[in-house]
């Protein structure tokens, strides 16, 4: 089980409270998490990564285990602590106000 923390506006859009828990078959990677997340919450498609290029939207970052994983390859294995659910995978919006 993998835990995902979404920013406020995406929790509202997906109509979820708190963390999202996902079961993923195979290795835990960014792509696997986002595929599973978008499958369960189709309204999130296009809001975290581009529909066409599948690249992370520029004002979002991926953090876990106190590390910035934003620039890791989408298929790179995530830390064991994320894969086991000990630590959450954080989708973070840039601190740009307005």
């Amino acid at each position: 089980m993998i835990r995902v923390v979404l920013p406020y506006h995406l929790r509202t859009l997906a109509r979820v409270d708190g963390e999202v828990e996902l079961d993923i078959a195979g290795q835990a990677t960014q792509r696997a998490i986002l595929d599973a997340l978008e499958a369960r919450y189709p309204m999130l498609r296009g809001t975290i990564r581009d529909h066409v290029t599948e690249r992370r939207r520029p004002f979002l970052r991926f953090f876990a285990c106190e590390e910035d994983l934003s620039h890791e390859r989408p298929d790179a294995p995530l830390p064991d602590a994320v894969a086991t659910g000990a630590e959450p995978f954080l989708v973070v919006g840039a601190m740009a106000g307005g």
Binding site: P42, G46, R57, F59, A96
Partner: protein
């Protein structure tokens, strides 16, 4: 008694304002989609309880919302706006080629006859259509591909397709406008397009009378006379009597002919409204006085409408999609400001009063005139 539903898009959410035909007491619902920019929301003429909204964010991109109950509840629908084929480039502000990139939906125009068919005008400029209620969107590539697309350049707010007019007399004719490319028309349902900018003159481009490159801010028509078009250009208020084949200026005695919205009275095709703004450098009303100008002669002769509007220290703007009219017997006129006020006049502009004063900056205003049972939200 008929009822009125005013759909307001703002920088921080959508609001639905409802009243009876007197238009004196209003119920305010919202914010819907709080914290998101709502560029535009509009109801289907074929089913007034079917609404569509463009919800957008610099962080999270584009979302499209649909309501089947007049705005009480909403559901997300498709938000994939992929350009047809290899998008290529348009001009950047400095004239260099710049890749076409989807940014957001500026305007949603539901079909006049089918609640599941909607046109979307997007930035970077292109026209999309759904025929399944918003689940899937496909570009009408003949517009960008008609030949001049690579020369289009963005206006200050971006390269947005902001106006979509459907000809009620001819299902295959429609007009669109792009900042800053100009106006275009199709006569075959969107397959092929051509620019319709003859008569426009814009000093800010290399050739002031070029076929494309004009910063058209808004076009309006009266449904009884779809060949007559009115345009608020960056500078100049223009008119065409031949479906856009040619334009002539009707700015007349306006204090300034810069502005954004333009609209037509619901029952008087020669009565039109604009909101003069001081200049493209100072986006607020001249002299701090918020005045709507009305022409009852299709342009050239204009009168200021001031009763109920602030006549001192007012420095708001009124954006291009933020004016609309209802179709009650005494035509109502509505507009929203960047200061968060939505003003309404129930007597064609003679008298004004704010419905709300303190919303986030208003991006768009649309109005639905409804039978009594359909306005509750």
């Amino acid at each position: 008694m008929s009822q009125v539903r005013v759909l307001v898009g703002t920088r921080k959410g959508a609001f639905v304002l409802t009243s009876d035909g007197k238009r004196q007491r209003w119920d305010v619902s919202g914010p819907h989609f709080a914290g998101w920019e709502i560029y535009h929301l509009k109801g289907s003429p074929a089913d007034p309880n079917r609404l569509y909204a463009s919800q957008t964010s610099g962080w999270f991109g584009q979302v499209i919302q649909r309501s089947n109950d007049g705005g009480k509840t909403w559901e997300t629908v498709g938000n994939k706006f992929a350009y047809d084929g290899v998008p290529g480039t348009h001009q950047w502000y400095d004239g260099t080629p710049h890749p076409w990139e989807f940014k957001r939906v500026w305007h949603l125009e539901p079909s006049l006859t089918d609640a599941d068919t909607v046109y979307a005008g997007v930035e970077d400029a292109a026209l999309f259509r759904t025929t399944d209620g918003g689940q899937t969107w496909n570009e009408l590539p003949g517009l960008r591909g008609h030949g001049s697309g690579s020369s289009w350049a963005p206006g200050a707010g971006g390269l947005g397709l902001h106006t979509i007019l459907l000809d009620p007399g001819s299902a295959r004719r429609m007009y669109i406008a792009i900042s800053a490319a100009g106006a275009f028309r199709t006569d075959d349902g969107g397959e092929t397009w051509r620019p319709i900018n003859r008569g426009l003159k814009s000093e800010g481009i290399p050739n002031p009378t070029a076929e494309v490159g004009h910063c058209v801010h808004r076009i309006a028509m009266h449904r009884s006379r779809p060949n007559v078009l009115f345009m608020q250009k960056h500078w100049d208020v223009m008119r065409s009597d031949d479906a856009g084949e040619s334009w002539h200026e009707v700015s007349g005695n306006l204090p300034t002919d810069f502005g954004f919205p333009i609209d037509v009275h619901a029952h008087e095709p020669e009565t039109i409204y604009v909101v003069p703004i001081k200049s493209d450098s100072e986006h607020f009303p001249p002299d701090g006085k918020l005045r709507v100008y009305r022409s009852r002669t299709g342009g050239n002769e204009w009168e200021p409408l001031t009763k109920g509007l602030p006549q001192q220290d007012c420095y708001v703007n009124v954006l291009r999609d933020a004016m609309a009219v209802d179709s009650l017997e005494s035509c109502g006129v509505y507009f929203g400001t960047t200061g968060g006020q939505v003003y309404a006049s129930a007597d064609a502009g003679d008298n004004w009063a704010p419905i709300v004063r303190d919303l986030p900056a208003v991006l768009s205003v649309e109005v639905q005139t409804l039978p009594p049972s359909r306005a509750q939200v």
